[in-house]
């Protein structure tokens, strides 16, 4: 079973349906036990970094994520759900960055590009041994964000360029994350979801 963590981030309907195409049962939940026990936990997220952290804390999400990783259970962060896995986020607060969950040590900062948000379909440079991008490494994925991490973390990375190069995905044993929205990336996104759910 795949659990999608509901911590007040609005549109989870298409995420639910997209993950269900993998053949797994999918539940949208804010229940800590269900979120901990599921074979895979998806941490979605739209909105601002600090608001997401606040929502996450309200459902004990930080603890659930840490506990799952230490007990070798898969977690997939999407978009802001990826960003909050880093140690610091500068969105709306450059001088005193917001604290993230801190799974990876890097700062999520504004992308240096003339047009923001980075909105639309962009390509990814993937690692040759990637699990997430197996068979779809030449495809484009749908991005909507203005901030990103730019430092290499985890075992395998994917990179995308908009104004500058940033981390568009990380695979790190039990925790993975994508800066783009696989649930909005058409057939390529569904294939990535399938790759992840097959690894559970």
């Amino acid at each position: 079973m795949i659990a999608i963590l509901d911590y007040g981030s609005g549109n989870l309907r298409s995420a639910e349906r997209a993950f269900a195409t993998s053949g797994h049962d999918v539940v949208v939940t804010s229940d800590a036990n269900i979120a901990f026990e599921a074979d895979g936990l998806v941490v979605p997220g739209v909105g601002a970094f600090a608001a997401c952290m606040k929502g996450l804390q309200a459902v004990n999400g930080e603890e659930i994520i840490r506990k799952r990783i230490s007990s070798e259970r898969a977690v997939l962060g999407i978009c802001i759900g990826m960003q909050i896995l880093f140690s610091l986020g500068e969105e709306h607060s450059q001088d005193v960055p917001h604290k993230g969950v801190g799974i990876w040590d890097a700062t999520v900062s504004k992308i240096n590009a003339p047009i923001l948000p980075h909105m639309g379909w962009n390509s990814v440079e993937t690692a040759s041994d990637s699990v997430l991008f197996k068979g779809i490494d030449s495809q484009s994925f749908y991005f909507v964000h203005s901030y990103a991490a730019k430092k290499s973390v985890g075992l395998r990375q994917a990179w995308t360029t908009h104004g500058e190069r940033f981390l568009s995905a990380v695979e790190d044993d039990y925790v993975s994350a994508t800066q783009f929205h696989p649930e909005k990336s058409g057939a390529a996104g569904l294939a990535l979801i399938k790759n992840w759910s097959n690894s559970l």
Partner: protein
């Protein structure tokens, strides 16, 4: 490799059906929105836009249902506009499955609505739809309401600049003079709006020949919206993308089934 330009078919929806008229009159029924959305997804649309032109609240409820059914089977971004007046309206649409919403008249009536939506849901969900026409305002472009039927005396460029400060994430620039004519996008209007904004810009109104799409990109558009040329099969989305790819514009090719 870089960010691809986006091709966005727009479906005008009323009472659960798709309609599109020339200059917003003479409506012609062009089908079921959910089916059309799925078809456009397969054909390579990079996003979809629904514009709800229902006059009644019952019609708007029907639209919520259309949004729900679309989001359940079409896994590309969906923008919904029309009749959105409050943060609660936005909340309902996002929960139904919309990824972005576009506002127009309600933001003109109360610009603070832009900041309220951006604060609650983030700028990335908020598209400012600007229906503009040639007029004697400072820049030569005026904002209109009610599908271009009513002028506001508001200068379109000043409005765009103000809306960017208030927090819109994207601009949908619709030329009321060009809309439905298939005589080409309003290139000088696109150039002018591009110059005063730094959020993504969607050009709309007037798409006809394949060259029109390229001209709008050259003027600074990041995405191209069109309705009748797609609905009536004058061009397939794949034709537009092949043409643009051949001319070295970055497009997303959909090689996967």
């Amino acid at each position: 490799m870089s960010l691809s330009i986006r091709i966005i078919p727009c479906l005008d929806v009323t009472e659960g059906r798709v309609v599109k008229g020339v200059n917003f009159t003479n409506l012609v029924d062009a089908g079921d929105p959910v089916e059309m959305a799925a078809l456009y997804g397969i054909e390579g649309a990079d996003e979809l836009t629904f514009l709800d032109i229902s006059a009644s609240s019952a019609g708007r409820e029907t639209t919520l249902d259309v949004v729900r059914r679309t989001a359940e089977q079409v896994f590309i971004p969906l923008t919904v506009g029309g009749g959105i007046r409050s943060v609660d309206d936005v909340d309902r649409l996002l929960r139904a499955g919309a990824d972005k919403i576009s506002i127009n008249t309600s933001a003109i009536a109360r610009p603070q609505l832009i900041a309220e939506i951006a604060d609650r849901f983030g700028s990335q969900v908020l598209v400012l739809s600007v229906d503009a026409r040639r007029a004697r305002t400072a820049s030569g472009f005026e904002v209109t309401t009610h599908g271009g039927r009513e002028g506001t005396d508001i200068d379109a460029l000043a409005w765009v600049e103000k809306a960017c400060v208030l927090g819109v994430g994207e601009i949908l620039l619709n030329s009321m003079d060009a809309d439905g004519t298939r005589a080409g996008y309003d290139i000088s209007m696109i150039t002018a709006v591009r110059a005063v904004s730094n959020v993504p810009l969607i050009a709309s109104g007037g798409a006809g020949a394949l060259e029109d799409f390229a001209a709008a990109l050259d003027a600074g558009a990041d995405a191209l919206l069109a309705a009748s040329v797609f609905h009536f099969g004058i061009h397939r989305i794949g034709d537009v993308k092949s043409y643009l790819a051949k001319n070295n514009y970055p497009v997303r090719t959909t090689t996967m089934k």
